[in-house]
């Protein structure tokens, strides 16, 4: 439960960032740790945490003490317990949101942290929240996925999904409760967890996740068992009382940063095109009219996807202090976000970022690859994955072409454990070892949103030397076949079918 893993070359420490929310002081501390104890960088994960990959084991107590100074820790970032609660990174600012889910994340975080009953589950347990109809938290790929919604009476509740997951057995979560009144959230979670804790398999770690239990007994039987436990619960939860939610909610009221008028921040004539591109790809409107969110890209061939240097962390912290009320978010897609920046300050932020690759206008493009550490760090990996990402990214460096390609999600895992989420990538890549050689299976048509879908295998695996070429063939085939520049990759795939892509790749 302490977040430490012995990896291929060194111990790795995973540090919890609850629902992806970071303060500038926390980010500065992470920068100090990266510089003093690691090799000068950290790695943002798909579950919104940060990992340090090159630590010395004997220095970990000092690191934990430093983390504690800024209210951070590594508890329950490993082990068979309830892991970090993740959330839509646009929570509280999304235009289409029912309600900000972060107070609920915090409620569940407090309830789940060191929960006496659920520290030795059959296997790890992941919970994700969204408050929006657009799912950016992959809730259907979690052990429990929760979507806030409002019923016809105007009451708030949750759509509850259970038994989703990836790994070697990818399963889309099943709807267990279409509308759970908000006051029942913690008791219902307790009921699900108790059934899982008592009934989940413990004889085989590969069959111990809740998805296997739900699949084996069926969602109807599982639901009836949960409902039975739920009915017999009294109000004396080991966790805490929902009445405290108002206290938590009061801490999530948005504070809108002021517009800072500065001289000398107009654009030079040769900057207009880059700025416009950045504005289009890396910023988005929020529910606050004069405020936009800014993505800080951590995707470029010069870095492992999700890596950020200590110097960059300090730049981001400074920008957050100046323009975003000191707040930063980590995203499921391994980037960072300044949640609320006044429109009048966008040029300043862009200029401040322009000396770094964090301003590259590539959010949701083929460069914005989700990728596991692979052979570079991971002791479980079958193949490399980061170099594959770099090779693919390098094929699409022209910013004009990158924009023209539209949104294509490529996800790479270096083994069947699927940490790179390859199952739910528009283009998924899975590394497999065959007699000491690296091979790569490709899937097409996966998606991680509210219509979450497991991708379909394209055909035989391709070798290490061919994988980037093959991905390029797939993308160029899409370009040639799409009806116009607005037809999304998945729409084209649905329209022409996967066989068309098979033909293009295998002939």
């Amino acid at each position: 439960m302490n977040g430490l893993y012995i990896q291929r070359y060194a111990p790795m420490l995973r540090i919890s960032i609850p629902y992806g929310e970071l303060s500038s002081s926390q980010l500065r501390m992470l920068a100090d740790i990266a510089e003093s104890y690691d090799r000068g960088f950290g790695h943002i994960t798909t579950r919104q945490n940060i990992q340090f990959n090159w630590l010395k084991l004997e220095q970990v107590p000092d690191i934990l003490e430093k983390l504690a100074e800024v209210q951070m820790h590594a508890i329950q970032t490993s082990g068979n317990c309830i892991r970090n609660i993740t959330c839509d990174h646009l929570a509280g600012i999304d235009l289409n949101e029912v309600e900000d889910p972060r107070p609920w994340c915090e409620l569940v975080r407090q309830w789940a942290t060191l929960h006496p009953e659920f520290l030795y589950l059959p296997r790890k347990f992941k919970i994700a929240f969204t408050g929006s109809s657009t799912d950016r938290a992959a809730i259907l790929a979690h052990d429990i996925g929760l979507r806030l919604l409002r019923n016809k009476k105007g009451e708030t509740g949750f759509e509850v999904y259970v038994g989703g997951g990836q790994g070697r057995t990818p399963i889309v979560g099943s709807l267990i409760e279409p509308f759970l009144p908000e006051s029942d959230l913690l008791p219902y979670l307790e009921a699900i967890l108790r059934v899982y804790n008592l009934k989940g398999r413990r004889d085989n770690k590969y069959k111990a996740r809740i998805k296997i239990l739900v699949k084996s007994i069926g969602i109807e039987v599982f639901k009836s068992e949960v409902d039975h436990v739920f009915k017999n619960l009294n109000t004396d939860l080991l966790g805490h009382k929902t009445a405290d939610l108002s206290t938590i909610k009061s801490r999530f009221k948005p504070v809108l940063p002021d517009s800072i008028k500065l001289n000398g921040h107009s654009l030079e004539s040769d900057q207009h095109e880059n700025y416009a591109r950045w504005l289009k790809k890396n910023t988005l409107s929020t529910k606050f009219r004069d405020y936009k969110s800014i993505y800080l890209s951590l995707k470029h061939p010069d870095r492992a996807p999700g890596d950020i240097t200590a110097a960059e962390m300090r730049i981001v912290a400074k920008l957050a202090d100046k323009y975003s009320e000191g707040l930063i978010r980590t995203t499921h897609t391994q980037n960072l976000l300044l949640p609320l920046v006044h429109r009048s300050n966008l040029v300043q932020v862009w200029k401040a970022l322009s000396n770094t690759n964090m301003s590259v206008a590539n959010i949701n493009t083929v460069q914005d690859i989700i990728c596991c550490p692979g052979f570079e760090y991971c002791s479980l990996a079958s193949t490399t994955s980061i170099p594959i990402a770099h090779e693919i990214q390098s094929r699409f460096m022209d910013p004009v072409e990158l924009q023209a390609l539209g949104d294509i999600q490529i996800k790479i895992s270096g083994c069947v454990n699927a940490c790179g989420h390859h199952h739910i990538g528009h283009i998924g890549i899975l590394g497999v070892d065959k007699k000491g050689q690296e091979w790569f299976q490709i899937t097409l048509g996966g998606r991680a949103d509210q219509s979450l879908k497991i991708g379909e295998r394209l055909g035989p695996a391709v070798d290490r030397d061919s994988i980037a070429d093959t991905v390029e063939v797939i993308i160029r085939h899409y370009l040639g076949k799409r009806l116009d520049q607005h037809e999304h990759f998945l729409t084209t795939l649905d329209r022409i079918g996967i066989d068309s892509f098979r033909q293009a790749v295998y002939g």
């Binding site: 003490e65 983390l67 504690a68 100074e69 209210q71 951070m72 820790h73 068979n80 915090e106 409620l107 407090q110 309830w111 789940a112 942290t113 060191l114 929960h115 006496p116 009953e117 659920f118 520290l119 030795y120 589950l121 059959p122 108790r194 804790n197 008592l198 413990r202 017999n232 619960l233 009294n234 080991l238 966790g239 805490h240 009382k241 405290d244 939610l245 206290t247 938590i248 009061s250 801490r251």
Partner: protein, 142 residues
């Protein structure tokens, strides 16, 4: 936690099932039911408060079912003594207490006071801390 006194009469699962079916075991005054994590959950459907003590055995500290079993027994209204025996870690004791156990049989060299100290150091970190509006990760041990 105290050490468990085995002087009570332990009843067998067969006796317990018979007892649940209405067959009184009159000659037995002190009754102890011994369960394991693998015991059928149906065993808990009987009149638990007729028992003086329930003992749950742990064969592997990683097997977290014992926590839910303890919790379930208390939720069913059992007020007698609830003991856990077997492979346990000292830092599991606070959680076992929270889940309703009041006794544990442990090895002599286990330092239980340390686990309780750690638990107290994380007082505000424990589930139920939201009333304070914040968490506190940096409390030091005295």
């Amino acid at each position: 936690m105290d050490n468990f006194d085995f002087s009570d009469r332990i009843i067998t699962i067969i006796e317990w099932n018979a007892f649940n079916q209405g067959n009184e075991i009159n000659e037995i005054q002190a009754r102890v039911l011994v369960l394991s994590a693998d015991s059928p959950t149906g065993l808990l459907n009987g009149p638990l408060n007729k028992l003086n003590r329930i003992v749950v055995t742990s064969v592997d500290f990683n097997d977290g079912r014992i926590f839910s079993i303890g919790r379930q027994i208390r939720l069913l209204g059992y007020t007698g003594s609830l003991t856990v025996v077997g492979d346990l870690l000292p830092d599991q004791f606070p959680a076992l207490l929270s889940c309703g156990f009041d006794k544990a049989v442990i090895l002599e060299n286990f330092n239980t006071s340390q686990s309780l100290e750690i638990d107290q150091a994380f007082d505000l970190f424990e589930a139920g801390d939201s009333g304070t509006g914040k968490i506190n990760f940096n409390q030091r041990l005295p």
